[in-house]
């Protein structure tokens, strides 16, 4: 029997899934965001190269700005490391208990936060030095 999918958005938010559920949601949101901006970037680059359209050039200029890169860096780093955690826990299901899941989340953030902080530091200092 298929599980019922007739669950509203706010009803879904009330589900007490805590950490793993929030990461699942954020993984989906960042994943769709990556598909959107990489897809748009592919189309924009294609039309910039083939037709020289102004709109396409504008899109790529936005993509190359450091303000945009700060957002992209977080989205990509989070999606990559959260996906690594999900994949590893799926391949070793023995670790899929509540204690190990929360340990994995802490481990994940202890990698994401320094990596992202370093990225933002270099992005901001380099771009301030250039301007």
């Amino acid at each position: 029997m298929k599980p019922s999918r007739n669950v509203g958005f706010y009803q879904g938010l009330k589900y007490q899934g805590r950490g793993p559920m929030l990461h699942w949601m954020l993984h989906r949101i960042t994943g769709v965001a990556i598909v959107l901006f990489v897809g748009l970037h592919v189309f924009a680059s294609f039309f910039m190269q083939q037709t020289g359209a102004d709109l396409a050039t504008q899109v790529n200029i936005v993509y190359e700005s450091w303000q945009f890169q700060i957002i992209v860096a977080f989205i990509v780093i989070f999606h990559a490391l959260n996906g690594l955690r999900v994949a590893l826990l799926d391949f070793w299901p023995g670790f899929q208990n509540q204690v190990d899941q929360h340990r994995a989340l802490w481990l994940q953030w202890s990698v994401i936060i320094p990596l992202y902080a370093l990225t933002v530091f270099f992005l901001v200092t380099r771009s301030l030095a250039e301007s």
Binding site: G31, I34, V35, V38, Q69, L84, D90
Partner: protein, 139 residues
Amino acid sequence: MRARSVQPAMSFEYFMWIFTRGSGIALILLALIGISGAFLMGARTQMDLATVMRWTFFPNPNHVVNSNIPDVAIGWATAFWQIMQILIIILATTHGYNGLRVVIEDFMGDTYLRPMLRGLIFLLWLFSLIVAIYVILSS
């Protein structure tokens, strides 16, 4: 808690479930190879971080046309990096568009819209693949 031992029948969804995890891990490794290549070729002193990130995921001379680096094509225009780029493109587009399909199908029932959206995503996937591989092989 002991893990249950279940052997599901091979289906499209099960195959894509495995593919998503495998390609995700492979993409992390390929990105590490790309970033190593960028640093070996002088990224630390020549490029800003945004450029290194673009080179990491798509190390292609056309892609970094605004990087203000004079000898940008040297080092990257080899068969090794072309194979790496094609691998990244095939894995990433398939991973991405399949993820989009999964998310969309989670929010809709089994209506007539489903095969249409699947077809649309398939066309987008095919177009992205062709454009990206054309860019790689023509540069």
